[in-house]
Symmetry: D2
């Protein structure tokens, strides 16, 4: 019943299937009874598995969407009169319908510019320096949020994260990472999950799994223990505490088991890398940002873009002759080849 007629889609990683290993885990979990609302054994195991993965005792809260993960994390980090620093193109600022403002009771997102969708440490430093602390009619610094990989498919180096983490610590504010494409970034950096997060100062993480093979199981991973309890109440009251928690827990356990998440992300990244390499080599096509995860932003002549659309290829348009291509864990090199061939024909 799905879009089977569409041979070629680079529209989004949200159109993907569920990875077979995760579907199997759902089936395996569907036996016997299990306590509700997270008091089950799957949830306990989930916390252990993630504590192993992150080499620290963490608390994991499965949630239904990345928006919930981001907004409830940030609502726990920021006072209603607080300021949250983020990139101007951050998903929380542009594409979550004001969820962070809603859950926080009206905290202010301070949108920072920066090349390739990344907050550069000096930009943040300047913003924090200009924050008017103690001035009652100004928002008060409470958190910084970075997206890893970013909305442009670029990846913060560990040193960049650590620099932001150090600033956050010095400023006494919380550090949130929107990891909607956490696995894609981790594969690129080749570092440990802990280096990319708490060892670099991250307090709380939106851990995305849905885009990379889960059915509906993103999670909030809490490193800073003080945040776990208030967050747990906010989740319940937000309608984000599933009654049959064993099922999202089982998905997330399978997701990290035997590094499945890294294998899935690695495959998607390779497809993007191939796409980027071949497109960059074409005349009149230009990469808009380095390809470091599973997103490719390219500028190409408008007739070529029209031609792709006419051929039934799915992708997102940005203004000014730029398109966004997203590769998926369940995509194939053949699809990339087919796309490249098509572009070649269109470019002439």
């Amino acid at each position: 019943m799905n879009d089977s007629s569409v041979s070629l889609s680079f529209r989004s990683d949200n159109v993907a299937t569920i990875a077979p290993e995760i579907m199997s885990a759902l089936e395996a979990a569907n036996h016997g009874l299990a306590a509700a609302y997270g008091d089950d054994e799957y949830s306990a195991l989930l916390n252990r598995k993630f504590s192993d993965l992150f080499e620290a005792e963490v608390t994991v809260f499965p949630v239904s969407t990345g928006t919930a993960a981001n907004a409830l994390s940030l609502a726990t980090c920021a006072r209603p009169y607080g300021a949250i620093y983020c990139h101007e193109d951050a998903h929380i600022n542009t594409a979550e319908g004001g969820a962070t403002e809603a859950f926080s009771g009206g905290a202010k997102l301070i949108a920072l510019p920066g090349p390739n969708g990344k907050v550069e440490p000096p930009t943040l430093a300047a913003a924090l320096r200009h924050a008017e602390r103690g001035i009652r009619n100004r928002p008060q610094p409470d958190a910084v949020s970075v997206t890893q990989a970013s909305e442009y498919g670029t990846v913060y180096a560990v040193e960049e994260i650590a620099a932001i983490g150090a600033m956050a610590r010095d400023a006494g504010i919380h550090f949130h990472m929107d990891g909607a494409r956490f696995a894609n970034a981790l594969v690129t950096l080749g570092c440990s999950a802990s280096e990319m997060t708490w060892r670099s100062g991250v307090d709380i993480l939106s851990f995305g799994a849905t885009k990379n093979g889960a059915m509906a199981a993103d999670a909030i991973v809490v490193f800073n223990r003080e945040l776990a309890e208030p967050l747990s109440y906010r989740l319940r009251r937000a309608g984000q505490t599933w009654s049959k928690m064993r099922f999202p827990a089982a998905q997330l356990i399978a997701y990290v088991e035997d590094s499945l998440f890294l294998r899935l992300a690695s495959h998607a990244n390779e497809l993007a890398s191939q796409l980027g390499r071949e497109l960059a080599a074409m005349p009149s096509v230009r990469l808009i940002a380095p390809v470091e995860a599973n997103l490719v932003f390219v500028a190409m002549p408008e007739p070529a873009i029209e031609g792709l659309s006419a051929a039934g290829v799915r992708f997102a348009r940005r203004g000014g002759g730029v398109i966004r291509l997203v590769t998926r864990f369940d995509g194939t090199p053949a699809e990339v080849d087919q796309f490249i061939a098509l572009v070649r024909r269109l470019i002439g």
Copy 2:
């Protein structure tokens, strides 16, 4: 890995499995690509199936929990300074962590008394009569919410619903039904889904499926079309709009396909009925409320309650020697027999 050692649980319908038909539907949906955020064909089919079921053009929004369904429905029905009438034991008033207050921006729940967990029409009428409309420092009537089946496992008759619906219409307020156990009530009444809802004046319904066989797929069903658009924004901003919407949609389609939901509920209701009948016949055991769905409230001597606990049986205690027993679609008559035999032994 689950509670397999526990032979006997009447703790909750949230500890249940997923019905095989629904698990199969998830597997069947896991092929090919599907548009995200509800623009997929499963979501379109879901709207058609539910429109058939309810004999009216309805809009269906899958959500992750009943709390989300209730609170976001009511936030759409009530102004921040509005009053929402409900039973004092309603889940929205006692067990959702203030979700309705949070999402509505501080609307007031007006808790009404009533036997067996039900709002009696005259009680509501009196409350509406005493509402101080136009008085700026009083909450203004905006909605009434009933739970069908109620928190005590009782069921509103169609005439009772219609009486409340008429009052709501006359008062110019919205009528919400918390249908966490919608199927259980519908089986009991034997009426049509439309009679139990919009034909009796219901504007918006929290349609529960998780307790009765789905994995994680409750839904909001909107009858009053004016509510659909504002609700859609509130859902997105609440992090309740799944990216891979085909999967909750597929669950809900399978849930109503061939009346599966009625068969599952019917089975659970029969187990409760058997439990109630046999318990009521025992000396020193007393039913606290009529058994009309899959919940049984009984008073019994404290030593018997202790004995049940000691035997490893799971159930919820209420104060004053009262316990709550919940039967499930995946429970068995043998379990009920086993429980009854045990109680008999304990009562002596």
Copy 3:
């Protein structure tokens, strides 16, 4: 242009004038320039005067209404998922349009019964005992609020306040006092302002002055220093930080100077006492609550109530043949005599 035709009003203390001493203070403050938003010398003096009055270093925030004082105090004391215990007839629960729910982001008022408008310590103790701490879907105890004098014109003894204060401390929750009629209660108790507040465990006080002679100057008095800073931000963002702060500050300084507030309240209390005494002595008239401040609640035959209305007397009706009479600092014994004579005639 005012209600000069009305010879007799016991409607409310909000219909009163401004005390001449306070009007003079406004005029006196209207010379030269003064820094804005509370950085002026009047505001500094206000803090010193109130610190003297309360025998402790307090922070005073003038606000425009008692509703603002209550709701912003409580929003600072309670988390969005918190519970606030109060009497079921408390102004915050019945007559502030949901202000506390709004400013707190949806905290829950737990309404407790109690004779004469007062929360009895054992009732609070039981409520705190039954609070389901740590249960994620229940509101979590954060504050208790008492009204001194109460909505029934009764007054908590110092021992009662101290008992509640001790419970609040033991439970780790904040203690708020709604002192809309603080002076009237203080006169009745004859204790010090500190005994009636922080020495008995009060953390934060809504200090009413408007009803007792100010123009528009209630205040929040903060005893628990941790609350002052977050409150200051909430006030500014609530539009409750006056730019020309010298004028409310000047009113409040004059209000406590030379114990003016006690003299004004004493006068109003005496009028109420006289009213109560004479009414209680009449056949078929009955006091509903002890007269301990400037409010008198009496039951009398419906024809007498009608007769009072017909004679143009202003007062508030409660249900069931009960009326509320409020005396004011600017009322006169002659008015009370006139009223009593009228009732006598009506009762026959």
Copy 4:
């Protein structure tokens, strides 16, 4: 007790006194009783006076601050998921502690650039064109807000306001005017109050009086009748409905009586005009924005700025050698002369 030692302050119009006519009106209102919460005769007269002034039937709500006026107006205009367009330097965006976000439940301010603190109609048109209506994860256009006079002391021409009003009407959004310095702008334009507001499409106005001679009486003036009722509830619940409403009403009546507000503003504007003219004529001093109200922004050499500070002159610094000077209704030409002489000496 005030800043009498300071001979020279151009710090703010919030440091000013109360105009004698307004103080007299307060005294005159302080006789007899008056109904509370706006049911008094002063409030009725206020509505008539303002309806005359604006040549239309308007509803006036006195509030304690401009922040309350702005935030509650906008909360009434915008849905929680709405977008409010304003200049990036608008007070609502930079200096009200997030009040609009708080009262609206998290609406989004869309900050637009524009020379001299003004939103240019084409900029707004482009923003509205790019608004993604119907896209659930984007804020939905609900209101536009302009500041008249602007934060830079510039004034929108009637044609500019009308152009924005026409856009708002076409876009189906509300039009709010922040008139903290309404009188100053009106004097400059020389048009009628109706031309500057509803005849040009304004739905709701924050009418400032405090900066221009009132004690504490700003007001919301509602032209679009649909907004009046919901606003009245929001005000009460925000603690912005004074009990002794006659006093703010009396201030506002006196403020517009015999065009007092225009005379006061005219005086302040003339002082600013004089300041601007003389400063602009000096070498190495440069006006940053045209002087059209009572604000003067000038760049001057840093040593001159230091010299002014050293001499005890009060003013606000902006970055980059720019200072802001504010003239007041109670300022004098002699003070301006003195200031100019001082600058001349410092510039050399």
